[in-house]
Point group: C2
Chain length 379, copies 2
Amino acid sequence: MNRKERLFTPGPTPVPPEVLLAMAAPMTHHRQAAFEKVFADVSEKLKTVFQTSSPVLILAGSGTSAMEGAIVNTLSVGDTAISVNGGKFGERWGQIGKAFGVNMVVINVEWGTVVDPAQIEEVLKAHPRAKAVFTTLNETSTTVLTDVKAIAAVTAKTDAILVVDAISAIAADELRMDAWGVDLVVAGSQKALMLPPGLAFAAVGPKAQAMMKSSTLPKFYLSFDKALKNLAQNTTPYTPAVSMVMGLSKSLDAILAEGMEAVWERHARLAAATRAGIVGMGMELFSKRPSNAATSVKLPDGLDGGKLHKKLRDEYKVTCAGGQDHLKGKIERIAHMGYYDQFDVLIVIGALELALKEMGADVKVGEGVAASQRYFASV
Amino acid sequence: MNRKERLFTPGPTPVPPEVLLAMAAPMTHHRQAAFEKVFADVSEKLKTVFQTSSPVLILAGSGTSAMEGAIVNTLSVGDTAISVNGGKFGERWGQIGKAFGVNMVVINVEWGTVVDPAQIEEVLKAHPRAKAVFTTLNETSTTVLTDVKAIAAVTAKTDAILVVDAISAIAADELRMDAWGVDLVVAGSQKALMLPPGLAFAAVGPKAQAMMKSSTLPKFYLSFDKALKNLAQNTTPYTPAVSMVMGLSKSLDAILAEGMEAVWERHARLAAATRAGIVGMGMELFSKRPSNAATSVKLPDGLDGGKLHKKLRDEYKVTCAGGQDHLKGKIERIAHMGYYDQFDVLIVIGALELALKEMGADVKVGEGVAASQRYFASV
């Protein structure tokens, strides 16, 4: 085939060649000065990415390991906690909490829509002993952006901590942990941090650290207490994913050289151009409050979304992500988090126009890419 | 410096350039046929490495995550289990079990010595309701090899499962999971599997799978049940460490091309030559039942082990590992698990002779490497 493989999945995302090469360096031992220096350096730089002065833990694991860590390190059996289920990842907060014996009060919102911070306030009033509120900054399954800033203003007035899954949003959507008053943020490596999957992160603020003291849920591998103590010595309790940390050092350098404001602004631009392209070709957006990390196209009724996904992937070598659970076949999700630039938007919008056309959809071929271009020219 | 950096630590170990380059390939998405094919293939090949027909789970995490998984997936609060503490990693079994509310009966053996299988039998008789026995094939902190085969013959006659930490021993020391009757084996990527740290493995035999049904310890990220169900679909419940799996594919190809018997035999040869070199230079071995994965030198009384370690590392660029806990400064540990050949033995023995000499030890410079050479010539 004379087509290049291109990845537009909301994790894993493309990894810059410089990062891949940094990861391919000869192995070093983690308990020696050279590595500890890198570890200390990336730990410090992560604070800027999370916009916090609190420690950011680096775990060897998928994003879900950090989500579990956020629960088992702050809560105890029988505690009440609130979570928002507006998609597959918000749903996961409830599942993990229940698996560990937490009384989870789940706020269900229609997938594609966003939770109203006022509803969080109400539920907190109805459950005044709730110890935590679990939300998702970018709900990857719907590409909906939660208003974390407004929710933090609510939780700040209570004893509950606010825990945010920023796995797919960190370094894509604006997140100001300290300024907004978020208490615990978890993230993953394989999204806008431009790394392969395998590292998870947890930034633990003072209110969450205080809550750790009374938590009795069992933990060992994911003990934040042990990880915090080790972090103070520039190390981890268990062998860190050394090559991933070396890659992280490279990717954080790129992110910080650009600057967080500029990184968020770039994602905002790519997201706006992607949305303009979708609307321009005559399609609809699925998310009612779109994130800047990824964009969902609502597919026309009757169009076989599975077939579209496969056509994009197999014929155009443009791999996006389909819908999950009841959204299967109904939406197609396009990532623009991390290692993407404006011409990548032309590629994915271009492929989408052609694939939709071939499937008989009422699509204006050329109008999508034109709309994206006009947007880029306007900013 | 005109000296090359060389790693002789018992994890991480050197990674072959071919594996590093395989890991540096452009990122692919984990939920598509190309990756699922690789995943299915490595899962199958791992069975040969573990010498089992049971499924081998691939987890994103350090080896400790698989140890925790072995406990939380088979036991319940208040269950009794037996563990052997003959070093830092055997000790960890007890710590994890206690963290999750398991009544751990710990058999303490002097570090450097090995547990007698008859003692396991006695303790099992004294605790007939014990559900599991936790052991360590190569106790990395002491380089002692446990007689797992004999212990398996004991546990096979009981209802208890035998769980083996083979993190640093897999593909180095002989281990025949099915033939010996081991029920659950955990391993890590950064040892003889010749990969960076970041993957953990759990091979779960039928007796362990049966015990999973009654286990009520809380689990989510480390749920073996979910992982087994996903494995049957050639995938994982949570995003796998994609690049690590690509590297694993390459390293397993190398291991299986050599063949497990030949791999064990190579490690036996390297270990024997290393021991010959140590004895040849006039030093003593620390381990009473040495593994083939790593070798410990007992340092002469009065010699500053910390200083020796630093001299080897900083002046000779030969990084070994010192002793842990009460063995700190008293032993130096040399890895030969994974990507090592016979000339690597000459390097580490050569560096050790010179460094010891410079520190005033009574060492016969040249006799160590000569003894290693004579051993190689003899086999």
